[in-house]
């Protein structure tokens, strides 16, 4: 396997977004490793996410993409390596603290609270004071303000007409957009989206890709996706993982001619 030295990955593709080079990295990890019972899921991966833009992460199933997301978002602790958020060492931080520091995420499968409306689902993510003690909620309930922000977030994704409906009966696409609104409502610095288009039709994928592109104007968005056409058409920088390692990091054009791309496409077999 080709191993890319950490320096080489450093903001290599952010040249496409001038002016971001000098800005501090919003999220970065260096040499993070995670293994489950002897199987190395993520093997000393380093990557750096500039403050703005859309970035693609691809690889086979089981290549470690989701595990890497978990390591970045903090729901899984790395065996070794460091994670930086906004230049601060966040390696020991909990998922909760990372979320409050501006790392938002979505999952491969939709995770919404059933039996509740879309706006409530979104509002849960945008309390001004998320650590408020329960007793404090008696005289400062926060819910109304959070719902206002949630309506605005749904509006900006064009689904405010669904806000008052229960999430259970909604289409998969509407559920995915609601999740996106929930991830964005807290105005995160970086959004980690794990297969946001999984299970959607081609037309629906386009809608979602447009939404992600719009969102990436003023924040970093990292997308895991199997559909290489969609990924290469929207992202300005690609990371590819093979068997737990970072096998490629660079811009889209170089990626299309790289052996990793051919491998993912399975061209050598055809």
């Amino acid at each position: 396997m080709r191993e890319t030295p950490p320096e080489a990955t450093a903001a290599g593709g952010s040249g496409t977004a001038p002016g971001t080079l000098s800005a501090p990295l919003v999220l970065a990890c260096y040499d993070v490793t995670k293994s489950y019972g002897g199987v190395v899921a993520v093997d000393s991966v380093s990557l750096e996410v500039p403050p703005r833009g859309l970035f693609g992460l691809c690889g086979f199933n089981g290549a470690g993409k989701s595990t890497l997301f978990n390591l970045l978002a903090g729901s899984v602790r790395a065996d070794s390596g460091t994670v930086l958020i906004d230049g601060q060492d966040a390696t020991g931080w909990s998922a909760m603290r990372r979320a409050r520091s501006g790392v938002a995420r979505t999952w491969q499968t939709v995770r919404l609270a059933h039996g509740r409306t879309a706006v409530d689902n979104v509002a849960a993510a945008c309390l001004r004071d998320p650590g408020q003690w329960i007793v404090g909620s008696l005289w400062r309930p926060q819910a109304a303000a959070a719902r206002e922000r949630a309506w605005a977030a749904l509006e900006s994704l064009g689904i405010s007409d669904l806000g008052a409906r229960l999430v259970d009966g909604m289409t998969l696409e509407a559920q995915r957009l609601t999740e996106l609104a929930r991830a964005l409502v807290s105005e995160p610095k970086v959004l980690l989206a794990d297969e946001p288009a999984s299970g959607l039709s081609a037309a629906q994928r386009t809608v979602l890709a447009d939404a992600l592109t719009a969102v990436s104007q003023d924040r970093a968005v990292v997308v895991v996706e199997h559909d290489l056409d969609m990924l290469t058409s929207v992202s300005e920088h690609i990371w590819a993982m093979v068997e737990g390692r970072l096998a490629y990091s660079g811009d889209v054009e170089t990626f299309r001619s790289s052996p990793v791309y051919a491998g993912l496409r399975g061209i050598e077999q055809a």
Binding site: Y36, A41, S66, T67, N70, S75, V76
Partner: protein, 294 residues
């Protein structure tokens, strides 16, 4: 030394009970992810039912046992056909962690209520299968019923373990608990497995109630405590491994007896529960409920 042996024997006897109820719970949980909180009540029905049939209605012992086992099986069948069928085959009703506890909890309440209405509140003991005084070797005494209980627990634990380990049918039973759709597409009738194993474990519990009752006696309220300790024993076997549940039950029983013998006779149960409580809280991983994988 002989005190230790006597305590050990007493501990193994009660531990065998806990273990076998744990095993009944575990094997059924494995099939359908529901805890059978009524398992103790089936034991109670077995013991009290046999006692009534033999002592009041003067049925021969073997006939009494058969009638009672058939009746318990019938109750289990009816409960499955009505309640579990609607809940799990039709897919309506409460699911998730509420379903894990509360359907069989409802059954437990009904069985207790029915037992109270039919049998009253007196304690009963079924006649001994192997009558006679305690077996004695020097200072070491062991109740005959205790020997039976222990042997039966080990044998049935082994049978359940071997069933799951060596037969296609046992693997299929495990598959039902893993994925209902996945088992149906290969032709496994998950509802049938759920029903059969529920009936078998209910009858097994009743049988243990009959064998054990000469030692302690049963009232209509004996069920929940047994079920609860069975749940704990099954818990120490990740709720899925009947063999390990028997071992865990034996360990709990021995610990209870030793605490009673060497520490405090009044507070031995309190201490035992406190120790179990502490283990569950401080080391939840012993339950085998592994944390959610990535």
């Amino acid at each position: 030394m002989s005190e230790f042996l006597n305590l050990l024997a007493a501990g193994l006897t009660s531990g065998a009970i806990y273990g076998i109820f744990g095993a009944c719970l575990a094997v059924w949980f494995r099939v359908c992810n529901v805890l059978n909180l009524a398992v103790g009540d089936f034991a109670m029905l077995g013991a009290i039912g046999t006692a009534r049939l033999v002592q009041t209605d003067h049925l021969p012992f073997a006939a009494g046992v058969l009638v009672v086992l058939a009746a318990v099986g019938l109750i289990a069948w009816i409960f499955d056909r009505i309640v579990l069928h609607i809940a799990f085959d039709r897919g309506s009703g409460a699911h998730g962690i509420v379903g894990v506890f509360f359907y069989t909890f409802g059954l437990s309440l009904i069985l207790e209520g029915a037992a109270r209405a039919v049998f009253g509140t007196d304690p009963y003991s079924a006649p001994a299968i192997w009558p006679g005084p305690a077996l004695a070797i020097a200072d070491f005494h062991v109740q005959r019923a205790g020997v039976l209980v222990f042997a039966l627990a080990v044998v049935s634990g082994l049978i359940l373990w071997a069933y799951l380990r060596f037969t296609v049918s046992g693997r299929a039973a495990s598959a039902c608990g893993e994925s209902v759709t996945g088992s149906r597409i290969v032709g496994i009738d998950s509802a049938l497995f759920r029903r059969r194993i529920f009936i078998v474990t209910a009858a097994l519990a009743a049988l243990f109630g009959i064998v054990e009752s000469p030692l302690t006696g049963f009232t209509y309220l004996s069920g929940p405590t047994i079920s609860l300790i069975g749940v704990v024993a099954a818990g120490f076997a990740a709720f899925r491994k009947p063999g390990r549940a028997v071992v865990a039950g034996l360990a709990i029983g021995v610990a209870e007896a030793m605490l009673g013998g060497y520490v405090s006779t009044t507070y031995n149960d309190v201490l035992l529960y406190a120790v179990l409580f502490g283990i569950i809280i401080l080391r939840p991983e012993v339950l085998g409920l592994s944390a959610e994988p990535a």
